[in-house]
């Protein structure tokens, strides 16, 4: 099999990409601001889901 790709910084570009693709990222370490945003998101999703359930219940009723 031919090896394609150019050496970039001493490393085959495609090998570098495959390394990136293989990398497993753990859970993100969120800043306080990001944590606050995540809480807002939870409130938003729960609120919207409640609205949807309410709307469908009313439709069925």
């Amino acid at each position: 099999m031919r090896r394609y790709g150019r050496k970039v910084g001493g490393m085959d570009e495609l090998e570098e990409l495959e390394q990136r693709a293989r990398r497993v990222y753990g859970p993100a370490r969120l800043s306080r601001g990001a944590q606050a945003l995540m809480w807002m998101l939870r409130v938003y999703v729960i609120g919207m889901l409640a609205l949807v359930v309410f709307a469908f219940t009313r439709q069925l009723g």
């Binding site: 990222y25 919207m48 609205l51």
Partner: protein, 446 residues
């Protein structure tokens, strides 16, 4: 080309594609070489944006023009071009740098709940959106005298046939050729003989006759929802990874996204100008027009050629959207389930990926052919799901694009953060308003 071994088929094909890119890169940087490089690397950005001008989008723009003319919405749609660009550009950097799809990164960084929530919401919303694409394709083909059943079955086979090439680049190029038909709305708008002064005056004055009512809110949300949709994030990032774009290709990826945003904006404006010129001044009642009736409504004023062009445009809009939307589902499920997910993989290598693609097409086509299917409920549910998913998807995008561990030197700059933060806030407000107005229809006094 070297004989492809089954086990490494996708990796080998990617290497082959990279060789082409590197060969062009290694030559002198003349304008011609730059163009060649752009043509080689462009695709995901243009396709995602044209896919976004889907059958539902065409009807949304047509309704907008017919109801409100060019006054408010032409400038509004032009404003949405940078919005679409800024949002989608982040997926280029994320994909090129991480070599992972959007669903996989959400799963990895924000945990199982948000990963599964995003994927289920996306796949469900995509399946239902696909139903509307098949309705659009059938409506487009009906202009040429093709009945519902052969139109839907034929369209489904066409959409499925595209991935049977099992080669990313070939599938992308074929879809790009189909997508070029989206531009048909531009000559259609010119055929309508719009008054240039009226369009320019709309840009200068930007007023809304009748004020900001509930109907206008719905159209604003529909237009925003048509411009940026959750599946677009998953599609473009997945396509960037599958195409094998690297951090060195980010600039071309950005140009590709910019080109796509401009095409999307021009086509959207063309449709609004078309119906805003032909239907709005005549106060034609577009109340509950079906998709097929739109082309017929234009025919008396623009002739049979225009009717056929509109039909062709509607068919193309549904076709390209069906391909891109199904691919976004297939990539997302493959990423989260840890199964192989590449258009360069063979069907034997990636059964889940191809299964999701074919399955969602089959289900959507079957629903359209089902007698008495609740199509209105489906359309409403699509909007509700998209509304639910959009703020989380945008917020995750923003957090990921700022993640130093993933993005390193390619993380967002302050300007992009401020702009995207504003967009997230706007979407959040519009989505909440939309949710409230859907449940309490008289909340805005309409």
């Amino acid at each position: 080309m070297a004989v492809l071994r089954e086990a490494s088929r996708d990796a080998d094909l990617r290497r082959l594609d990279r060789e082409r890119v590197l060969s062009v890169r290694s030559r002198s940087r003349s304008p011609l070489q730059n163009l060649l490089l752009f043509l080689l690397l462009a695709g995901p950005g243009i396709l995602v944006m044209i896919g976004d001008n889907d059958a539902g989008g065409v009807i949304t723009y047509a309704t907008t023009g017919a109801r409100y003319g060019v006054g408010f919405f032409v400038p509004f749609l032009l404003l949405l071009i940078p919005v679409a660009y800024v949002v989608q550009e982040m997926t280029v950097r994320l994909g090129a740098v991480s070599q992972k799809g959007h669903a996989e990164l959400i799963f990895d960084r924000f945990g199982r709940f948000w990963g599964i929530f995003s994927m289920v919401d996306l796949v469900l919303g995509n399946c239902l959106t696909l139903v509307t694409e098949f309705i659009g394709m059938a409506a487009g083909l009906s202009v040429f005298g093709i009945g519902l059943r052969p139109a839907v079955v034929g369209s489904a086979l066409l959409v499925a046939a595209l991935v049977s090439v099992q080669r990313y680049l070939t599938a992308e190029r074929i879809t790009l050729v189909c997508a070029a038909v989206n531009l048909v709305f531009v000559p259609l708008a010119i055929l309508a003989h719009p008054a240039p002064g009226q369009v320019l005056s709309a840009l200068a004055r930007w007023n809304l006759p009748g004020g900001f009512t509930r109907d206008v809110l719905f159209l604003v949300i529909a237009n925003v929802g048509t411009t940026i949709a959750p599946w677009m994030l998953f599609y473009q990032q997945g396509a960037v990874v599958d195409k094998g774009l690297t951090p060195r290709d980010i600039r071309e990826g950005q140009q590709d996204t910019l080109a796509g945003s401009l095409i999307m904006g021009v086509v959207a404006v063309a449709i609004v100008v078309l119906t805003g010129t032909v239907l709005f001044p005549r106060h034609i009642d577009i109340g509950n027009l079906s998709q097929a009736q739109w082309a017929q409504t234009l025919a008396p004023y623009l002739g049979p050629v225009a009717e056929r062009l509109f039909g062709l445009g509607l068919f193309e809009a549904g076709l390209v959207a069906a391909i891109t939307i199904s691919l976004s589902s297939a990539w997302a499920v493959g990423e989260v389930s840890g199964q192989r997910h590449s258009l360069n993989a063979s069907m034997r290598q990636a059964p889940v990926f191809y299964g999701i693609y074919a399955g969602s097409i089959a289900v959507a086509a079957a629903v359209v052919l089902l007698p008495g299917a609740p199509l209105q409920l489906i359309t409403l549910t699509v909007q509700v799901i998209a509304t639910l998913l959009m703020p989380p998807a945008l917020l995750f995008l923003l957090l990921l694009a700022n993640d130093p561990e993933i993005m390193g030197e390619h993380r967002n700059r302050l300007g992009a953060n401020l702009f995207t933060g504003g967009i997230v806030a706007m979407i959040l407000v519009l989505s909440t308003l939309y949710g409230i107005v859907t449940v309490f229809p008289h909340a805005l006094g309409g």
